[in-house]
């Protein structure tokens, strides 16, 4: 009997080694180890033996089974490696072959890009330049230069993602204010859109990653009246209808005076609905005259120049324009969502 086990193992070894594909190998496995396989049949035959003999033979059969299992696993690994090598070492690939045009199908811009583009076009037409600033920032530009020193309670308003190396993810686009003052001559009219980050849990209306556009204008003479006018023009350009705005005091250390700008709810016209939380107004953007300390941080003399700035939530605006209920759709890369915005860039 032990001879027949040895023979069986030898036969298996030969067949496993000869198995040229994964499919053949699977058949070989079934042939030996399957329910009706040859090793299984041997095990069944032990039933009729005397206890002593059964013990010895049982061990031998189990050893044989283990040996065959190991062979198969080894061969399977080898086949996979060979397949991978073949796949990787492809020689017939010619990257100079002509490109193949993709079948025509409608593409779309991300809704935040669409809104950003409208905002950018509107401001460009009013003589603003469009700038782009880094997303990983230093404490200096994100806070200190904006009149938010360490230990200022206003730091609570912007829960911050910190990197292990000591940098941070900008909590707003406002760091660009001071960067722009350093980089460009006065008078200055600029906007800077981009991705910002807040360390907070995500729900229907909160997202740790969202998009803002910051606006900054510095000139000899500027007033709150001008700020209201520009904001109104901007919003009417984006929404393509008349917009009623109101300003109320808002505290942001980098502006003085500082405001919250609300618009009359476009969903209910001010009567009160779920969009405006039944107040008739929707809080849209903080703005104000640039604080003299921020001008100084940018090397601008507050005795000679005055500035205003605003920070507008692009994600928020896109949600309003398209009545998007969940802010988390923006970062989901779900084609069912993305396909819904065919309008593309501003014309």
């Amino acid at each position: 009997m032990s001879d027949s086990i040895t023979l069986l193992v030898e036969k298996a070894q030969a067949e496993v080694a000869a198995a040229a594909t994964a499919d053949v190998l699977r058949d070989t496995e079934v042939q030996y180890l399957g329910k009706k396989g040859e090793v299984t049949a041997l095990l069944k035959s032990l039933g009729g033996m005397a206890p002593e003999e059964r013990k010895a033979m049982g061990k031998a059969v189990n050893d044989a089974r283990a040996a065959i299992e190991k062979m198969i696993a080894g061969r399977r690994g080898q086949l996979e490696r060979e397949a991978l090598d073949r796949e990787l070492a492809e020689t017939g690939f010619d990257l100079t072959l002509p490109g193949i045009p993709l079948p025509s199908q409608p593409g779309t811009w991300h809704p935040v890009s669409i809104i950003a583009d409208r905002v950018e076009r509107a401001f460009e037409q009013m003589g603003f330049i469009v700038l782009d600033y880094p997303e990983v920032e230093t404490e200096h530009y994100n806070f200190d230069a904006l009149n938010i020193p360490a230990d200022h309670p206003a730091r609570d308003m912007q829960d911050t993602f910190w990197l292990k190396n000591g940098c941070l993810l900008r909590t707003h686009t406002s760091p660009g204010q001071v960067r722009a003052m350093h980089e460009y001559p006065l008078p200055l009219r600029a906007i800077f859109p981009g991705r910002v980050f807040r360390y907070e849990r995500t729900d229907a209306s909160h997202e740790h990653t969202f998009h803002q556009v910051e606006g900054l204008m510095i000139d000899r003479e500027l007033s709150v009246s001008n700020l209201i006018a520009i904001m109104k023009v901007l919003l009417e350009t984006i929404f393509e209808r008349e917009v009623t705005v109101r300003l109320r005091p808002g505290f942001f250390p980098f502006v003085e005076p500082g405001f919250e700008l609300d618009i009359l709810c476009m969903n209910c016209g001010g009567a009160g609905c779920s969009v405006c939380k039944h107040s008739g107004w929707v809080e849209l953007l903080p703005c104000g005259l640039v604080h003299p300390n921020v001008l100084r941080a940018g090397g601008v003399d507050p005795e000679k120049w005055v500035g205003w700035a605003f920070g507008l939530g692009l994600s928020r605006l896109a949600m309003m324009r398209y009545k998007i209920s969940h802010i988390t759709h923006f970062m989901g890369a779900d084609p069912r969502f993305l396909r819904q915005f065919p309008e593309g860039g501003a014309r």
């Binding site: 991978l84 796949e87 492809e90 017939g92 010619d94 990257l95 100079t96 072959l97 002509p98 490109g99 045009p101 993709l102 025509s104 593409g107 779309t108 811009w109 991300h110 935040v112 890009s113 003589g127 469009v130 782009d132 880094p134 997303e135 990983v136 920032e137 230093t138 404490e139 200096h140 530009y141 230990d151 309670p153 993602f161 910190w162 990197l163 292990k164 190396n165 009219r189 849990r201 990653t209 500027l222 007033s223 709150v224 009246s225 001008n226 209201i228 006018a229 005091p249 808002g250 005076p257 405001f259 005259l289 970062m331 989901g332 890369a333 779900d334 084609p335 993305l338 593309g344 860039g345």
Partner: protein
């Protein structure tokens, strides 16, 4: 912060003003009110007389007698005196109902909060066979706080039958919930007195609050030594004896519930009420626990152990400020008292601290110890040190009025070495006018500021403004701050909007912007890609799945989830994850993302100004097909076509592909190509590496393209000049050959181009065909665009060229040409 209108009306003559209506003006002129609630009747639908009627059914009542309910062990039949003359019988199951108890009775017609949380109007009920009209109620049943352990126990003496709304004005009240963030710069508005002052000014009504008079004793009890006057500008204390700890009077318990505080006992409640009223936090020490006869204000020693009264043990640092007795710290200044000196139920003798602390220090300590208390929230806003005395007096008066037998047993110790000098601002009326952009005179500016309790001396256009102490700590310091005061007072709505008139400026477009915009146009408007956005964070398993090293990434100190702790260095971990999420629904995907990646720069040195890493802007494209065979290269060449089309819009020279020398780990090492623009490498195209596919569990075949947008923006603009139109007719000649797969189509194109340069304008490979019959070969079709500059082409020329072409491909490239 929660505000009670009834409590505000104690300090300003505004009781007749509609608190709901005025809340809008407060939002427009002072700070944002999140919510306004009218409380007292839990059903907001009830208004006017119906509401008044329901309110009139809630009154004080006394339990006269109790007897067991014949049918139910846990119920009692209770005789109640509700002041109506005839005692009434009700059934009650509350555990604390007992003869002599003074409680609150809700009669038939009263509206209470039912067990399901919905408003319920009380009707006669029969409870286990016994009729019952009205009920004794808990705070929670009246919609006050969340205490429903038993019926209300009224600790003070109130005649049965008194309406609850009369006994406790905060029962029938209007509450405002002010957004705390909008009060960050208004330390004076963190108490009802300060809010009342602001509201009185807003409504042009008298502000009536004055600190009460208190007679302090002559003798000293405990001295004060301020060793850190920079961190503690003012410290005051006094002692009171004859204290008896017990529950607070009903009106106070209800007021505290309304303001979001749970009543604890009279002493704690009085300190809380003082804080909520005057705005300055207080702390009461049990005199028995203070050792020695001096209170010391000092910096903590590094590592000094201290247990706050919430039972949490802390290790202090030298940056923390403590209040100590002769032996030990007894309070973490401005944050929380110590467990070792807190008042207990048997306290009779207290030392009351009222002090002013340095805002930044308190905030640092509160943040570090995670003890963000009502006290630290106020101190970190920079409180007016003059509040210290007002709060001392207010508290003493509360105790003396409400705890019979209590007395002030010491003099008032008040260490205030350097009261801040008055803050004076010079401003011109003209400045306000110019900044607001509205017509306003210096006299009008002066009038507004005076109404807000600024002192103004006016000399024509020039105003000399003295800031009241309660606005001077942080809020008001520069002329711009006064512009805001005038603006908000007048209402920004009253400012007419005018666009600025400014000089023209030179046009300017950041190169990166046009790069991104044109590529987005080409790919997403024309080539059918959907523009996606994915997070800047990566999951470790996705990074590893893409065969990248997590340690070569920037790590977050406080990731939003432990699963996503690194910043992306490539757009593909998230894009491939998106493909996997979508592939069951979307068998073919075309996604494009434009965004930054964040690359650690080991060579950069940390700087205070510039972030020490590079964060280039990239485009990441993916094409996926769930039903394609991995060996199929169609997707690759579709991607090549789309990318080159996109790059041709960039005005930066010829777009082409070349061999990719050092493919990124996510890329298939053979099926990849470098992308060049004007000869400079700007990205790559590659099929996903088989191991990445396996590791991520990707079912689709995916081809990626990565374009470095900043690299494109850095390239010089190239304008390709016009080439003259041919004067003589040209023609096209096609040639198809069965070529070994090892031969590159480009090599054949180049060879064909050189055969007859004077007549060959261009050669392109325009079709590829592979057949299983010739596994080592592919059929390539070439088109020769032919024309001569000075004459018409000759038939013989064409035949000759064709012959040469056939021979070249046969001989040089071992191709077979069908004749």
């Amino acid at each position: 912060m929660k505000v009670s209108w009834s409590w505000i009306s104690r300090f300003a003559e505004v009781g007749d003003i509609d608190a709901v209506g005025i809340s809008l003006r407060f939002t427009l002129g002072v700070a944002e009110i999140d919510e306004v609630h009218r409380v007292g009747v839990p059903d907001p639908a009830l208004t006017g007389e119906a509401r008044a009627e329901a309110l009139s059914r809630v009154k004080i009542a006394k339990v006269v007698a109790c007897r067991p309910h014949p049918q139910a062990e846990k119920l009692q039949i209770v005789t109640v005196d509700d002041g109506g003359g005839t005692p009434r019988e009700i059934v009650s199951g509350a555990p604390n109902v007992r003869p002599g108890l003074l409680s609150v009775f809700a009669d038939e017609g009263a509206v209470i909060v039912g067990k399901d949380g919905a408003p319920t109007t009380l009707r006669e009920a029969v409870i286990r066979g016994v009729p019952s009209r009205g009920m004794l109620v808990s705070f929670a049943e009246l919609g006050i706080g969340d205490d429903h352990a038993g019926v209300i126990e009224v600790p003070d003496v109130i005649a049965p039958g008194t309406l609850l709304s009369a006994a406790a004005p905060a029962f029938d009240d209007v509450l405002w919930d002010i957004d705390n963030k909008s009060l960050t710069h208004r330390p004076d508005c963190w108490g009802h007195v300060g809010l009342a002052r602001e509201i009185a000014a807003m409504c042009r009504r008298p502000f009536t609050w004055r600190a009460p008079d208190v007679n302090f004793a002559a003798e000293a009890d405990i001295a004060v030594r301020d060793e850190a006057p920079d961190l503690c500008p003012r410290y005051s204390c006094y002692s009171m004896e004859g204290i008896r700890i017990g529950p607070s009077p009903l009106w106070l318990q209800i007021l505290l519930w309304r303001l979001g505080q749970r009543p604890i006992n009279n002493l704690v409640d009085f300190t809380n009420l003082t804080m909520l009223t005057v705005g300055n936090p207080l702390h009461a020490f049990d005199r028995r626990q203070l050792e020695g006869d001096t209170i010391v204000i000092r910096r903590a020693t590094e590592g000094e152990p201290f247990t706050t009264l919430d039972g949490r043990a802390h290790r202090l640092t030298a940056g923390d400020l403590v209040i100590a007795d002769a032996r030990k710290p007894v309070a973490l200044a401005g944050v929380m008292g110590g467990e070792n000196s807190m008042v207990a139920d048997d306290t009779t003798h207290i030392v009351l601290e009222s002090a002013n602390f340095h805002a930044g220090t308190i905030r640092r300590t509160a943040v570090r110890t995670q003890e963000r208390t009502d006290s630290s929230a106020r101190f970190e806003k920079s409180l007016d040190p003059h509040l210290v005395r007002d709060a001392s007096l207010y508290f003493a008066d509360l105790v003396l009025t409400n705890i019979p037998g209590s007395r002030v047993s010491s003099r008032y110790e008040d260490v205030f070495p350097a009261p801040p000098a008055p803050k004076i601002i010079h401003i011109k009326g003209e400045f306000v006018k110019r900044r607001l952009g509205m017509e306003i005179t210096a006299a009008q500016v002066a009038e507004v500021l005076e109404r807000l309790q600024f002192t103004v001396a006016r000399d024509g256009e020039e105003l000399t403004v003295t800031v009241p102490t309660f606005r001077a700590t942080k809020d008001i310091g520069i002329p711009e701050d006064l512009v805001e005061e005038v603006g908000r007072w007048h209402g920004y709505d009253n400012i007419e909007a005018h666009l600025p008139s400014v000089a023209m400026a030179r046009p300017f477009t950041l190169p990166i912007r046009s790069v991104v915009r044109r590529l987005r146009e080409a790919l997403c408007s024309e080539s059918g890609f959907l523009e996606a956005m994915t997070y800047s964070f990566n999951r470790i398993e996705d990074v590893r799945g893409c065969r990248m090293d997590p340690d070569a990434h920037l790590w977050m100190e406080n990731p939003i989830s432990m699963e996503e702790p690194v910043l992306r260095t490539s757009l593909f971990p998230n894009l491939l994850a998106a493909v996997i999420r979508n592939e069951r629904r979307e068998s073919r995907q075309r996604l494009a993302e434009f965004g930054r990646v964040y690359l650690p720069d080991p060579a950069a040195t940390p700087s205070a100004r510039e972030p020490w890493l590079s964060q280039p802007r990239m485009a990441g494209l993916v094409l996926s097909d769930r039903h394609a065979d991995v060996s199929d290269t169609t997707l690759f060449f579709q991607m090549k076509d789309a990318v080159l089309r996109g790059l041709r819009t960039q005005e930066r020279g010829n777009a082409a592909v070349a061999k990719l020398v050092d493919p990124p780990p996510v890329a298939h090492p053979a099926r990849c190509a470098s992308v060049t623009l004007g000869g400079a490498p700007v990205g790559w195209i590659a099929q996903v590496h088989p191991l990445v596919r396996r590791e991520l569990g990707l079912e689709s075949v995916v081809v990626m393209a990565c374009i470095d947008l900043d690299a494109i923006a850095a390239l010089p603009k190239v304008v390709v000049p016009f080439s003259p139109l041919p004067r003589f007719p040209g023609m096209e000649h096609d040639l198809t050959a069965l070529v070994p797969k090892t031969v590159s189509a480009d090599d054949i194109v180049r060879a064909l181009r050189d055969l007859a340069p004077e007549i060959t304008r261009d050669v392109t490979c325009f079709a590829v065909y592979e057949s299983p019959k010739f596994p080592d070969r592919r059929s390539l079709s070439f088109r020769l665009h032919l024309a001569h500059k000075e004459r018409t082409l000759l038939q013989e020329e064409l035949l000759e060229l064709h012959e040469k072409a056939v021979q070249t491909v046969q001989k040089t490239f071992d191709a077979m040409v069908a004749s």
